[in-house]
Amino acid sequence: MEMKTASVISTSLHAAVLLWAVVSFTGKTFEVTPAESLPVDLVSEKDFSEMIKGAKEAPKAEMPKPLVEKKDEPKPAETPAPKLTEKKEIKATAEKTPEPEPLPKPDPIAEKLKKPDEKKQEAKTEPQPLPPKRPERKQPKFDADKIAVLLDKRDPQRNAATGAELNSTLSLGAPSGKASRLSQSETDALRRRLMALWNPPVGAQDADSAQITIHIRFKRDGTLEIGPQVLTSGSGARFNAMRDSAVRAVLVGQPYTMLRPEHYDDRDGAFGWKELEFTFDTKDMFHDIPLR
């Protein structure tokens, strides 16, 4: 029958196509190039406008330049190499060395005759020239500071530490990061900590924007010098509850170790934190914490 041959043809055709497909259809893997993660700061509109207002005339804050490992100057590691003789000892040998010279150069017969005498003589002279003859190697003194150098198995010609160049890789950054410094500032860390600790009273989120501004005076070690002063005035049970919660947050959070002591008095810089005013805002609490 005609249909039978047609079926055979069709089946073989499909088999051929399938075979071809099995051979050719292989999922190629996409080449994934790892994307560079970009540091992103969220700046609210209010913060942005304030930033522009304030920053125009301000003196430039000098950022501390990160140091780098110096290159191209191989410097052998210090080893307690044996030092050569000191002057004193050399002098001592200079005095004594002439001694063997005056020894006469006797003829063999006389020598033989003299032998018993010479032996005596030698016995006499021997103790004198020997000690100074070899400038003795001074035994390396045990030095606890140099143990580390001895134990150091690295190549002595490695790059010496700390140069003046700018480092291309920051210690805390990504291996291929491009930012010159980390984005999170100390104020940012402080803000995060305070907002995390702040536990506003129930119902505070109903208020449109309840703000409590608090004046904080720090000591150098990050604790409070005096109790937090509330600058915002108000009345009512709700305000009192809000104010107390803010004060509590400030008190609980100490010591504020994220504030670096070297910036404590930094008046003109960005980080002077001897006295700070901090605003607790319910908007920030219940929405997103803005980064400044």
Partner: protein, 237 residues
């Protein structure tokens, strides 16, 4: 973490290579059934297509040859004698059926001319119907596969995606490396459905048009032949 590393660490859990065979082998058994069914459909569709193509070209050639012989001025009795010896199709079959009826009417003792015209027409109609039926046999399979194939494939896909989502939920990992093999598997069913359905639809449309054309040609011949016989009846009667 590096996305490439994540992919590397996750891939061995699912399937490292996405060849056609692994796609099939990892699928759920329902999806496998759907795939095999669609493959069989595709094989059947192509078998029908090959068969019909051969049939239509042969029928066309046969009709051409018959018409040439018919209009060559050859005696119809002689033509009937040569054709009736072997089984015939299409136009020749119609001619033979009509001639047989004609002969039978003259061979008997009493000549019955009264209904001869009608009888001949009826006989020719029946043989045309038979011929058309032969031409369009199995064409409905093409129509069915063409319309239902994508849906069957889609069913396999939906089922496969359902199971793959279940496995995602079980592994608690939503990275693309986990999701992709299951979805590729599921989409494979739709691909086979389309592979089966697209040729089926095209072939169905083509063959339906062909059947129409050939049926028209047969009817035209039947009318012409009926007219010739009718003139003969009137002349003899």
């Amino acid at each position: 973490m590096n996305p490439a590393d994540v992919a590397q660490s996750v891939l061995p859990l699912t399937s490292s290579d996405l060849s056609l065979f692994t796609l099939f082998w990892h699928a759920h058994w329902i999806v496998k059934t759907v795939m095999i069914g669609l493959l069989v459909c595709s094989v059947w569709v192509w078998a029908i297509a090959i068969d019909k193509t051969v049939l239509f070209t042969r029928t066309k050639r046969g009709m051409d040859r018959f018409e040439q012989a018919f209009w060559s001025g050859q005696s119809l009795d002689e033509l009937y004698r040569t054709l009736s010896a072997k089984p015939n199709h299409s136009m020749a079959a119609i001619f033979v059926a009509a001639m047989r009826e004609w002969k039978r009417s003259f061979e008997g003792q009493q000549r019955s001319f009264a209904g001869l015209q009608m009888r001949i027409e009826k006989v020719m109609e029946v043989s045309i119907a038979r011929e058309v039926e032969r031409l369009e046999r199995r064409l409905l399979v093409l129509a069915t596969v063409g319309s239902a194939g994508p849906f069957i494939g889609l069913f396999g896909t939906v089922w496969g995606i359902m199971t793959s989502f279940q496995s995602i939920a079980a592994s608690k990992n939503t990275s693309l490396a986990v999701v992709a093999p299951g979805i590729a598997e599921a989409l494979f069913a739709t691909a086979i459905g389309l592979v089966a359905a697209i040729p089926a639809t095209i072939f169905y449309n083509k063959f339906a048009g062909e059947v129409n054309k050939q049926a028209q040609r047969l009817e035209g011949f039947a009318d012409e032949f009926a007219a010739i016989l009718s003139r003969q009846i009137d002349e003899r009667g």
